[in-house]
Amino acid sequence: MSGLALESAGNGGAFAPPASSTDDRRIAEAVFDALWAGGITWWILFWIAVAGTLLFIGAVTYSVARGIGVWGNNIPVAWAFPIVNFVWWIGLGHAGTFISAFLLLLDQRWRSGVNRLAETMTIFALMNASLFPLLHLGRPWFSYWLLPYPATMGVWPNFKSSLTWDLAAIFSYFTVSLLFWYLGMIPDLAAVRDRAPSRKRRLTYGIFALGWAGSGTEWRRRNSALLIIAAIAAPLVFSVHSVVSLDFTVAQLTGWHETLFPPYFVIGAIYSGLALVLVLSVTVRAAYGLHDVITETHFDRLAKITLVVGLLLMYCYVVEMFSAWYSGDPYERAQYFVHRWHGPFAVIYWMMLAMNFLTPQLFWFARLRRSAVVVAIAGSLILVAMWLERFVIIVGSLSRGFLPSSWREYVPTWVDLSILGGSIAFFSLLYLLFLRFLPLAAASELRADRFLSSRGEA
């Protein structure tokens, strides 16, 4: 196109310019100001995360090179740290899509302050989670055997196994979450493209912005598509952790063989994920001074959801124990009332129960829900407690099976601990890079909410 007839600037006229949009513009600017802004603190955290990631890579390489005998796993505790970590990470990956998709579908507009933080957390947590089952295979280079491809040997995966369901569930969930996250970010990437100071950045962000121009048609269709993806992601949130729980329930083992497991696992997953959202939103808010983007109202509402989900989890604990008692089965009763209460991992069990039960009770009080410090500490405690919960379920149950002659304790090795710590560092590294290079809140949604609500339309 050429032949532009350029004319510029008229002024004056019957329309007096109202000073309406300064507030929403300032909020959007705060989001974009955080880009590429990393002080000394960012670099210190970055290098710590890099060091931890190197430890992760080192420990994984060592495990692959030497074999998984370097872990503490034994028989009967064949599923130990790797599966505990897997379930923990994948649980953390639930709140992002839960917050984004459900709150979008329920027209909860306050979500726009924290949804990007939560969705990004989901993506990175899933990346971490998916590593663990592959490592646990022992020979991860054969992991493609899990896929249904026409092999010359003529074998296929067994689709009656819950482990192959897991693969399908996680793959679908990751893909849809990624598309949901990306689709939500395209207008913000276009905004970064048009603000970028150098050609290289304009080009890079321009490629990922896909040529977005913000036309009315684009907004209308993109937002409709976002709603459809949210509606697809919502059942995925429930299906993924339900399927993960089926990995356990299909076994006969006491402590695993329960019909309660799918909802129980989904609730636990959302609970731990919400805790991580609380921790991340407090941290990011303080680090970047985003007090108008992430407000105390966000903490208040997230804490309320956490309280409700925490109480649901307590209900699951009670039902689990009641079922064990009501079954009359001596092995069930022994698992819940002897081994868990007095067994080798009793300390972990009671710590888990205390932290998971007591922490959310803080959120009955409005003042505590709105306090960044309280919310962050509570979130951290829940994160730890939820890791311990998976340890109790997996290691605790396996080490005390039906035959007393097969009972065996479990002690993790330094490799197990390095992989756990390293995976947290890897997550932190990815998250730090996200904070530096991508818009950390949905600026366009924040502005639209304010603009439309000021007109009484939202």
Binding site: M1, G3, L4, A5, L6, E7, G10, N11, G13, F15, P17, P18, S20, R25, D107, P148, P157, N158, F159, K160, S162, W165, A168, A169, F171, S172, L179, Y182, L183, P187, A190, A191, D194, I207, L210, G211, A213, S215, G216, T217, W219, R220, R221, S224, A225, L226, L227, I229, I232, A233, S239, V243, S444, E445, R447, A448, F451, L452, E457, A458
Partner: protein
């Protein structure tokens, strides 16, 4: 409107520096009977642009169809692999295990539906494009930051260039550009 609203007879692009002004201008222009109107803005300017009040049924149909294809594909792969090609007898359970196959079928239903939504959107919007004609407009980069543009397609009957230009300026447009396609 496949060339970003720049039709054969051209278009007028008006820039506003305030969202509220742009909205008022849009309503005003609609009231004056302009047919081919489009906005370019950093966030949805009207309720219908948020996608909530209007449904986009064409996409919904495509997504539904692809989700059905996904469910069927998922089921057929499992059925062929475990029933026809390599049946495994584990404890005498049926090789064609309908309930067991439903789990992965649901996942592939959702996967195909999700991907179809995304791809369908890109196809409908003719994205991705690295360059678009409107990027050449002076100051258009502000449309993703803090400027609000309204485009009027000139192929609609009864558009008098000079009069429309004047109308836009009276609505406080900070800039009015006339774009014509080179012939």
């Amino acid at each position: 409107m496949n060339r970003d609203f720049i039709t054969r007879s051209g278009a007028l692009f008006a820039e506003f520096d305030d969202a509220e002004l742009a909205r008022r201008a849009l309503e005003d222009l609609r009231g004056r009977g302009y047919q081919h109107l489009e906005t370019f803005s950093p966030f949805p300017l009207t309720k219908d642009q948020t996608g909530e009040s209007t449904s986009w049924s064409a996409l919904a149909i495509v997504v539904f169809a692809m989700a059905a294809v996904g469910a069927l594909t998922g089921y057929l792969v499992q059925w062929y692999a475990n029933t026809v090609s390599y049946p495994l007898n584990i404890g005498g359970r049926p090789a064609h295990a309908i309930l067991a196959f439903l789990v992965s079928s649901l996942e592939s239903l959702l996967l195909f539906g999700g991907v179809a939504t995304f791809v369908g959107l890109l196809v409908a919007l003719r994205l991705p494009r690295l360059w678009r004609p409107i990027y050449e407009l002076e100051g258009f980069e502000g449309a993703s930051i803090d400027r609000y543009w309204i485009a009027i397609g000139l192929d609609s009957r009864g558009v008098d260039l000079a009069r429309t230009d004047q109308e836009l300026r009276s609505m406080n447009a900070v800039r009015v550009l006339h774009v014509a396609e080179e012939t």
